[in-house]
């Protein structure tokens, strides 16, 4: 019961980057348990990039194919994964805490009759049992749990487990999965504008609040995000989402997304407690605000006090130089 099954994700037949993080986390756990890492991806056919995950520590990569598995098929995927888990001897099954992973993991857990720890940010092995840490109350507290019995089902918060190269064999195996997609059928994915990153997965987030004064002014943030050459997403505070200035998908905070990017730039955001909770686990926080007493400066690593409409364009210019 010391092997780790890492459940990977693909879209349009290509492996999603978050899968590298899952394999990286799985490798760490497998090393602590003294087992191997099997990576599993479900798809309609061969998955581009699946051959790469040996680099991050997968001993074996299994592609389970089914004509109905091109797009996410919640019931078909859950059934196939649960069967795989039952047929093996896994100590841990690790998912990404992505939109798909958070939907899929509970289904697999219920089928296996096992508990699930979602959105895990740290883990360990104590006395042979897996322990996990996960943020609760939107990150205002951390819950440390011991998972008794096996397998331990966990999903890993995106952007936390930075991919680390740990080359292993990564032996490729393909098997056909039987059955249908199930009753719940994903008909299509309506793609967001090309090049837009999701705040939940972006390594850099440029977030705006009421200080932007009006919706059109978010253009200065979009320009700053663009200067990071495809690495940054635009985020928003609850106030501006509730006011209808920005879409819900961008909201950071307790009733939005809790994020952990490498760099979080808070612009014109005073720092309500529910917002701070959602972004305080960012690696580096920069705050730009005209009010030097704004609570956001209490959590920021670096602050600039000033008019954002002067500071942000200057920052965009400087970042462009860095990336130029």
């Amino acid at each position: 019961m010391s092997n780790v099954l890492a459940v990977l994700e693909q879209r349009d037949g290509a492996l999603r980057k978050v899968s590298h993080e899952v394999v990286t986390g799985a490798r760490r756990l497998a090393d602590a348990l003294g087992g191997s890492v099997e990576a599993l991806v479900l798809a309609a056919g061969a998955v581009r990039g699946a051959e790469q995950v040996g680099r991050f520590g997968a001993d074996k990569v299994i592609t389970l194919t089914n004509a109905a598995f091109g797009l996410y098929a919640p019931e078909g995927y859950a059934r196939a994964i649960a069967e795989r888990v039952k047929s093996g001897t896994y100590g841990v099954v690790a998912f990404a805490a992505s939109a798909t992973g958070k939907d899929l993991a509970p289904r697999v857990a219920a089928r296996l009759g096992r508990p699930l720890a979602q959105d895990v940010t740290d883990f360990g092995v104590e006395g042979g049992a897996v322990t996990v840490t996960r943020p609760v109350y939107a990150g205002k507290a951390l819950l440390k749990l011991k998972i008794t019995g096996a397998p331990a089902l966990i999903s890993l918060r995106p952007s936390v487990f930075t991919p680390v190269e740990r080359p292993k064999a990564g032996a490729q195996e393909t098997a056909a999965a039987g059955g249908s997609a199930g009753r719940v059928v994903v008909k299509q994915i309506k793609a967001a504008e090309a090049g837009t990153l999701d705040v939940a997965e972006a390594p850099i987030i440029v977030s705006g609040g009421r200080g932007l004064k009006e919706p059109a002014n978010f253009k200065v943030l979009e320009e700053l995000a663009a200067a990071f050459a495809g690495r940054a997403a635009v985020g928003a505070s609850r106030a501006v989402v509730d006011a209808g200035w920005r879409p819900h998908a961008e909201q950071v905070g307790q009733t939005g997304k809790t994020v952990s990017p490498t760099l979080y730039v808070a612009v014109g955001i005073s720092g309500a407690i529910q917002h701070l909770a959602g972004m305080r686990t960012s690696k580096v926080i920069v705050a730009i605000n005209k009010d030097k007493d704004a609570p956001i400066f209490k959590v920021a690593d670096y602050g600039i006090v000033g008019d954002l409409f002067e500071v942000v364009p200057k920052l965009t210019e400087e970042i462009k130089k860095t990336h130029g």
Partner: protein, 250 residues
């Protein structure tokens, strides 16, 4: 349409979290409890579906302590018809335990829709809805931000990274709701008065321990004191230098 909505009593999102002396729980002194914000979208959606159908019933169900009756009354004041409290002093950490108790309640009850908020803002478990669906062998779509139902079929949209998934499903089904699905109504005075007279059934449930053991609840690590780099646009070059050379994030 017969619709069940599962709701939870949670601390207000503005709560300053203080850890109790046992080091394992929230100090509830002075904490204001509310209806979980994501559940408001579920209650609202149920009411709209019933109104559109012209007939039916909306039943709200909570698992929690006696005080959760108040939370149920809030949903009744919004317009739900009756409430059920599965009373338990302790809400298990293990979402599967909660799902099993709810599934037992729903078995054979003949609901067309069972709605949940996508997650509770206290434990962030993000799992009970789809677990209940699996236990009852019902189709399920999570984090629904747009919904159309026509007869026995539904089409839901859910946000994923970089896009929106369009999902078809048959009824009866379990759905979990996301922000954006609707704009929840505030209970009117008339609704609040009416809610006092609506049926609320209390059933005591005994829950298993589950497979999760709580080791500790701790405050997040303090962020080290930051610095004000300077004022205005003139401070930007120094900020960029610090991000590159000190923080090494550029």
């Amino acid at each position: 349409m017969k619709i069940a909505v599962c709701i939870k009593r949670v601390p207000d999102s503005e709560t300053r979290v203080k850890i109790a002396s046992d080091g394992k729980s929230l100090d509830e002194a002075g904490v204001k409890f509310i209806l979980n914000p994501y559940d408001e979208f579920a209650v609202e959606e149920a009411l709209r579906r019933k109104e559109k159908a012209g007939s039916g019933e909306v039943v709200v169900i909570a698992l929690g302590p006696a005080a959760a009756q108040e939370t149920i009354r809030t949903a009744l004041a919004m317009g739900a018809d009756r409430g059920i409290l599965l009373q338990s002093d302790r809400i298990p950490l293990d979402g599967l335990e909660v799902a099993q108790a709810l599934a037992a309640e729903f078995k054979g009850a003949g609901f067309d829709l069972i709605l949940f908020g996508k997650m509770a803002i206290d434990d962030y478990n993000h799992q009970v809805g789809p677990m209940v669906a699996e236990l009852l062998d019902l189709p399920c779509v999570t984090t629904v931000a747009h919904l159309e139902i026509d007869g026995g079929k539904g089409v839901a949209e859910r946000e994923i990274e970089g896009g929106v998934e369009v999902v078809e499903f048959p009824l009866p089904a379990v759905l979990t709701t996301d922000k954006g699905l609707n704009e929840p109504r505030y209970p009117a005075l008339k609704g609040i008065m009416a809610a006092k007279k609506k049926p609320l059934e209390v059933k005591t449930v005994s829950l298993g321990g589950g497979g999760l053991e709580l080791l500790a609840l701790t405050p997040p690590p303090e962020r080290k004191e930051g610095k004000i780099v300077g004022e205005g646009a003139a401070a930007v070059p120094e900020l960029v230098r610090l991000l590159r050379e000190e923080a090494k994030v550029l």
